[in-house]
Amino acid sequence: MSEQDLAVDRSILSGGSAVVSRSDSEQVTGVARMDLASHREAFGRRPSVRVRNASALIDELAEVALTGRGGGHFPAAVKWRSVAAAGPGGIVVVNGAEGEPGSAKDAVLLQTRPHLVLDGLVCAVEAVGASEAIVWLHQGAESTMRSVRSAIAERVAAGEDGVPIRVVLAPDRYVSGEATSIIRTIEGGPTLPRFVSNPAQPWSDGARPILVNNAETMARAGLVALRGAAQYVPTSLLTIVSRGHRSVVEVGAAETFGTVIATHWSDYAAGEPQAVLVGGYGGSWASWSGVRHLRVDAAALKPAGLSIGAGLVGPLPMSACGIEESTRLVNYLAGQSARQCGPCVFGLAAVAQLCDDLTAGALTSAGRKRLTRFMDEIAGRGACRHPDGAIRMITSALHVFSADVAKHRRGRTCNAKVYGVMPLPGEHS
């Protein structure tokens, strides 16, 4: 077996890349679904993670430096240890709600590799001493729901797991994917983010400990449990946004954004992009010259002020305007506020209004100063990270697209011929 074959053999998507539409993640093509039999043939039986070696698996997660792939990149081992330390009888949740609107990687995972995710989930239950397993999905994600439900049925029929796995459906809203929204719902509250004063204990005092991990994080934990840390290949699942569709690809840490985009961005034939939105709609814009040589690796991105976040890669064609696009996104993000925290409710709305003014060529000097002050005031002041992400994206846009800012400020038209590059929920294209 060549080195490349080995790498493919140890990967999540077996070297394939999946294609989904821009508007939803209902139809996945390019990667075939693995049912329980084919999953077991490829990966073997799920090892039992008993109390005796529970900490061994957590140590292995630390060894491979597994971090949260929902966007936060918090070390998984730290989270698992704090839930384990809180005592037995807890709940483990795999978050498949894919809060990031442009992202489709978790839908692809749950539709094509459901048993890898569920193996991770059941291993987590055993490792932290929990007694309940939950798969958290958006209620509109029907294909994902069907795949997960039939995977659970297969496992029940095969007598696979010692713990029942339950599917819980969340409202179709951006903040439904926030870990604190999930915990609050399980504790009987509304599906809204909650302020947490102690990050090591996001559940309520006296309540059952709850571990929440993103679907990709859980699949990777499953991979570590099935294959061992020594065989683990640190790849990233990315969603690449093209005009006609989205591609979900698995990329090694040695590959650069330049090669990934040249290979998987279907609009590349018409020319290189001017910039790339990295991480998510609450991520950062990076200029093409600044990002093309960077490796798809957390350590390589950090010095550039970037994060892989939820794995969204949104190249912006030369024919589009970064300011127009960012204004559209910040309006969407402002509208997705959970409407709980003043700086998010009023601050994001004010920032979106000023961005509208900028795009319309009507931003005064006083307005430009207000925009800077507002962004300063909002950062770090929500119960969740939603407002911070919106501010991060706009801050990077004003920097990366400074030439377009100048054009719009002078009331001149920019050169945009293409609008609405990033998909938004509810749009049809």
């Binding site: 809204l192 983010p193 909650r194 302020f195 004063s197 959970a338 709980q340 925290c341 003043g342 700086p343 998010c344 009023f346 601050g347 004010a350 207000r370 002050r373 507002f374 300063d376 005031e377 770090g380 002041r381 929500g382 119960a383």
Partner: protein
């Protein structure tokens, strides 16, 4: 204290040497009474919501102001941690 002082304080790493005044922003309705009672700890942002100095409450005067706003807040959004 000006808004900018409060903002600078927020940007710095929280001083873990002692108790700090904190807020649950999801409970706050922007009543604003806190900024009047604790002018050395709290400034209001452009929409009337408190920006809180998260330095340790090392001096007695600051601790007194913090305790006063914790009990005065009608939404019970403020608390002292640590």
């Amino acid at each position: 204290m000006t808004r900018h002082h409060a903002h600078d304080a927020r940007q710095q790493v929280t001083d873990l040497a002692g108790p700090t005044l904190r807020i649950d922003p999801s409970l706050c309705d922007g009543v604003g009474i806190c900024a009047h009672l604790a002018p050395d700890l709290i400034a209001l942002d452009s929409w009337g919501y408190p920006i809180i100095d998260d330095h340790a409450l090392s001096r007695k005067r600051l601790m007194r102001q913090a305790q006063a706003v914790v009990s005065a807040c009608p939404k019970k959004a403020l608390f002292i941690q640590g």
